[in-house]
């Protein structure tokens, strides 16, 4: 697909078909993620690919609890009936794991050390776009308890589960979200 067509076609999918994703398609999506930039090219990302039903169920149950907790703390009414069944339905869940030791010079500035996290977020964005280009639906899901999922996935001590992405062929007709006019988001300091 043409680049801007991919940018415009990407949207969050919350209902997936059970059609499996061919191995070569997944590999291409991961190769896309791996092309992200990172401070000093330290490539601080790793990918945990979950296809196992039992693991998906444990992730689903953990995220159900996380959702209930967020609902109680927030009082946001929409969170009550919000379903996270896509965690069971998506043929593949991808955990994006960051290595804080692979950050850049940002570590020397107070309140920073976020370089590895931003690089991992860029890798996620590449992954979502590469999935779109490959005809896949995706969801960047953030309603999780990090420590809980790290224990379930057996993430190495010192590394961090930063993001969770659902991947599969989309069966969701919800239209893509709109955006504010970008001009409302821009301040110009002209010459």
């Amino acid at each position: 697909m043409e680049f801007f067509e991919v940018l415009r076609a990407r949207r969050s999918c919350r209902k997936f078909k059970d059609t499996p994703i061919p191995g070569e398609v997944l590999t291409r999506v991961l190769e896309g993620a791996n092309l992200a930039p990172s401070p000093m090219n330290r490539q601080p990302w790793e990918f945990v690919m979950v296809r196992n039903r039992e693991f998906k169920e444990r992730i689903f149950e953990s995220c159900q609890r996380a959702k209930t907790m967020a609902f109680e703390r927030s009082g946001w009414k929409w969170l009550g009936p919000y379903k996270v069944d896509f965690l069971l339905e998506a043929p593949v869940l991808v955990g994006i794991v960051g290595d804080p030791s692979r950050t850049g010079a940002d570590r020397f500035f107070e309140g920073r050390s976020e370089g590895y996290q931003y690089a991992c977020a860029a890798a996620v964005q590449n992954l979502l776009l590469a999935a779109t280009d490959a005809g896949l639906g995706s969801l960047w899901f953030s309603l999780f308890d990090r420590k809980d999922l790290e224990a379930i996935l057996g993430i190495d001590e010192g590394k961090e589960l930063l993001s969770l992405v659902c991947l599969g062929y989309c069966d969701d007709q919800t239209p893509r979200t709109t955006r504010k006019d970008v001009n409302e988001k821009v301040t110009n300091i002209e010459s």
Copy 2:
């Protein structure tokens, strides 16, 4: 350009021509950034576009000091002679500003509240890719003192300067960096 061609062509440029960037090209790049995903579609990003010479000089001087400090703290030899002249040469510097109040349910989890930052990083990645698609070079620069640049740019209280990007036509022949084979970065939890 074709999507994967853009992914592969994107690289960090550290030397820019003084050719100005046409307004419609910049607008297209910002529209690309604006298509990033965000928790609850809160679109927590804003863009400060710096074209003014005096502001570039103040940013350059601040980043020179930041570089010297990072050199002293790190002892990294390459940082001593590292030049940040691209901050003066690039026709446009883009400050990406995040609004912490526009984050998602991540705020209810201990040690999180990073949703708006990841969304802004995704917007930066879209911006870099859209720049590549438009024939522009770019650099995601992270060697800065946040509070110092926030004061220079007059960022609103409560908002945060998360990233700084240099944009312009590239005059740098350095080849793009390589990547580890993505298979070394993947763990499979199969069914």
